[in-house]
Symmetry: C2
C-alpha cells in the first residue's frame, strides 16, 4: 500500500481546516472589521503572490459587491526594486501570504505602517515576518502545510476574506451561510474524487486554458496554477470578457478549455462562452452545477448544488485541485515535490 502523499492528506483536511478557522476567528474578524470601519478607507490595498493573489481576486469581488469597498493590488516591485512606493493615503493595507515569509509582501505592509496606515496580515504563521510587520493578524488555522502546492491554506484564505466581508456587513445570514461551508466542502471533495477519472483522456494535454467570470475569476487562476505546478501542463486563465478580446483565437483545433461556472449571475455568460468555444472545436471541461453549461461541455466535473454564489469559489476550486493531483499522478510526478519546486519563494 502506497503511503498517502502530503498533498492528498492536506486536500482531505480542508473541511476541518475551514471549520477551525471559522470557529476560532469569527470574533477577531469583527474586531478587524471595526479597525477597517474606523479608518473609513477609500480602498484596501492588498499585497500577495501566487495562490494568495487568487484569494485577493476573490476579495476584490466579494468586498467590492457586498461591502462596496474597492480593492487595489500592490505592485511589490515599486516598494522593493524601484524604491518609489506610492502614497497610500486613504487605504488600509492587507498582506496575504500563507507562509508570511515573502519579503516583498512584508515590504508593502511595512511601508503602509511607515505611512501611518492601518495594516493587517492574513497568514498561516503568526510568528512570520509578515505578521511582525502588520498591526493586526488574522491567522488561517490551516495547520502546517507540507506539500508544495497550497490547498488548505488557499481555502482558508478564501474563508478569511469571506469572514471579514460578513463582519464588515454585519450580516448574520451571510455568516450562517459561511458556517455551512465546511460541510459543503466535504461533500464536494467526495464527489470530485469519484469523478476524477473523467479527466484521464486529457493526460497527454500540453496546454489548457481556464475561463471564468465575476466572483470565480480568481478560481480560474487558482485552478490553472494548481494544474500547472503539479502536472507541468502549461495552463493559463482568463475572464470571459478578456478571452473574447483576442486570446480565444488560440482555442480551436482540439485545444483544452476548462470552464469554472457555478450557477449564478455569471452562468449565462459562461454558457455563451461554452457555445463559442465549442464552435471553434475546443475540448471542453465544465466545473459547474448549471444545466446549460453542463449540457455544452464534453467532460463534466459537477458541483454540489445549492452553494450561495458569493461562497461558490470555496467549492469550485476543489474539482480543480483533485484534477491537478490526478493529472500529476498519471504523468508519474511526485505531487509533494513536483518538478523541483520549493515551498517558499523569497522574491525581494
Amino acid at each position: 500500500v502506497r503511503a498517502a502523499s502530503w498533498l492528498e492528506r492536506e486536500l482531505d483536511e480542508q473541511p476541518d481546516a475551514l471549520a477551525r478557522l471559522l470557529d476560532a476567528e469569527a470574533e477577531r474578524a469583527v474586531e478587524l472589521a471595526a479597525v477597517i470601519d474606523a479608518a473609513r478607507p477609500d480602498y484596501l490595498l492588498i499585497a500577495s503572490r501566487g495562490s494568495s493573489s487568487n484569494a485577493a481576486r476573490y476579495a476584490q469581488y466579494v468586498l467590492g459587491s457586498a461591502n462596496r469597498i474597492p480593492i487595489a493590488f500592490a505592485t511589490p516591485s515599486l516598494y522593493t526594486l524601484y524604491g518609489t512606493p506610492p502614497r497610500l493615503d486613504g487605504s488600509v493595507v492587507i498582506g496575504i501570504s500563507q507562509s508570511g515569509a515573502s519579503p516583498d509582501v512584508a515590504a508593502v505592509v511595512a511601508e503602509g505602517g511607515r505611512q501611518g496606515r492601518p495594516t493587517i496580515a492574513i497568514t498561516n504563521d503568526e510568528t512570520s515576518p509578515l505578521a511582525a510587520a502588520a498591526d493586526h493578524t488574522l491567522p488561517l488555522h490551516a495547520g502546517p502545510e507540507r506539500a508544495v502546492a497550497a490547498t488548505k491554506t488557499y481555502l482558508n484564505s478564501l474563508g478569511a476574506v469571506a469572514l471579514l466581508s460578513a463582519a464588515l456587513a454585519r450580516d448574520e445570514r451571510r455568516l450562517a451561510e459561511l458556517r455551512e461551508m465546511p460541510q459543503r466542502v466535504a461533500a464536494q471533495l467526495e464527489r470530485s474524487r469519484e469523478e476524477c477519472a473523467r479527466l484521464d483522456a486529457y493526460a497527454d494535454a500540453e496546454a489548457a486554458t481556464v475561463v471564468a467570470r465575476g466572483v470565480n475569476y480568481g478560481t480560474a487562476f487558482e485552478v490553472a496554477l494548481k494544474i500547472r505546478e503539479l502536472s507541468g501542463v502549461l495552463v493559463e486563465a482568463y475572464s470571459v470578457a478578456d478571452l473574447l478580446h483576442g486570446p480565444i483565437a488560440a482555442l480551436g483545433h482540439g485545444r483544452l478549455a476548462i470552464l469554472v461556472a457555478p450557477s449564478g449571475s455569471a452562468s449565462a455568460s459562461m454558457a455563451e462562452c461554452a457555445a463559442a468555444l465549442r464552435e471553434r472545436g475546443a475540448a471542453l471541461v465544465g466545473i459547474s452545477d448549471d444545466a446549460t453549461v453542463l449540457a455544452r461541455v464534453d467532460t463534466r466535473l459537477e458541483l454540489v448544488p445549492g452553494t450561495p454564489e458569493w461562497l461558490s469559489p470555496l467549492v469550485a476550486v476543489l474539482p480543480g485541485q483533485v484534477a491537478a493531483r490526478r493529472l500529476a499522478r498519471l504523468r508519474g510526478i511526485d505531487v509533494d515535490r513536483p518538478l523541483g519546486l520549493r515551498k517558499v519563494t523569497l522574491t525581494r
Copy 2:
C-alpha cells in the same frame, strides 16, 4: 507583388502616429493633470480590456513611481453583471479603450460620473460612447486602425500615459525624453524587422511564456496577446516573481520562454531568471539591450540602446509585434483577420 497588409502598414505608421499624439496633446495633458491635481485623488481607477489593460499596467508602474499615485483596476462585472459598483470616493476614474466602444469600460466611467468623480477617457475615437461618458477626453491621434491586432493604438496609449505622467510631475526633462521616442521607435522597428527571421526556428511552437518585471510587466502581457491573436500559439505572461512562485514548473524540456528585459532596475532580476530557465532546459528568446541577459539566451531580439527605463515599454513591445506578424505569416494566417476575430468586442 503582394499588397501590404493593414497590420504591416499600421506597424510602420507607429513613429508618425506617436509624433502626432505628442504634438497635438501636450497642452491637453497639462490641463488633465490640473484636473487630477485639483481632485487630490487617493488613487486612480482604470477600466480597460485587452491591449488597453496592458497600457493600464504601464500606468500602474509609471504613475506609481514617478507620481506616487496608486492605480486600481476596475472589475467591470461588478458594474454590469452584478450591478453593485463599489463606492469610488477619493478616486479619479479613467477609461482606456482604443475604439471607445466597449460597453463595460464605458459603464465604469459612467458610474464614476454618477458618483461625482472626475472622469477621463483615453481613446482613439472622440465620438465614441466612452468619450461621451467621460468629462474629459485624451484622444490618441493614431488614425483609423483596420487590422484586428492593435499596434499603433497600443503604442499611443502608452504615449498618452507617459504624457500624463510627465505633465503631473511638471518634469521638462521627462517630456524631452518622451519627445525623442518617435525617432527611437523608428530605429527599433528597422532593427526588429532585420532580425525577425531569427524566430523561424520556433514556427511550430505550440505554446510560449513571456516574462518581465516592473515597468515592462504590461509589455510581457502585450507581447503574449499579440503572438496569440496573430499566430494562434498559446502564450501566457508572468512577472518573474509570480513565475518563481510555481508556474516555472512547466518551463523545462524545450519549452519556449521570451524574456522582455530592457536594461534598468529589473535587468539583474531578469538575468537571474534567464539562468534559472536555462538550467531547466527552456528555449530562451531575449528582447533586451542588457549584455548579461543577451549572453544567456538562445535567440536575441536586440533593443536599440539608450532608452530611458520609464519609456522602455514603448520600444520593447516592437520586437514582439514584429515576431507575432512573422510567426503568423509562417503559419499561413491572414494577419488582418486572424482566426475569425472581430475588431471590437462588445462585452456587457
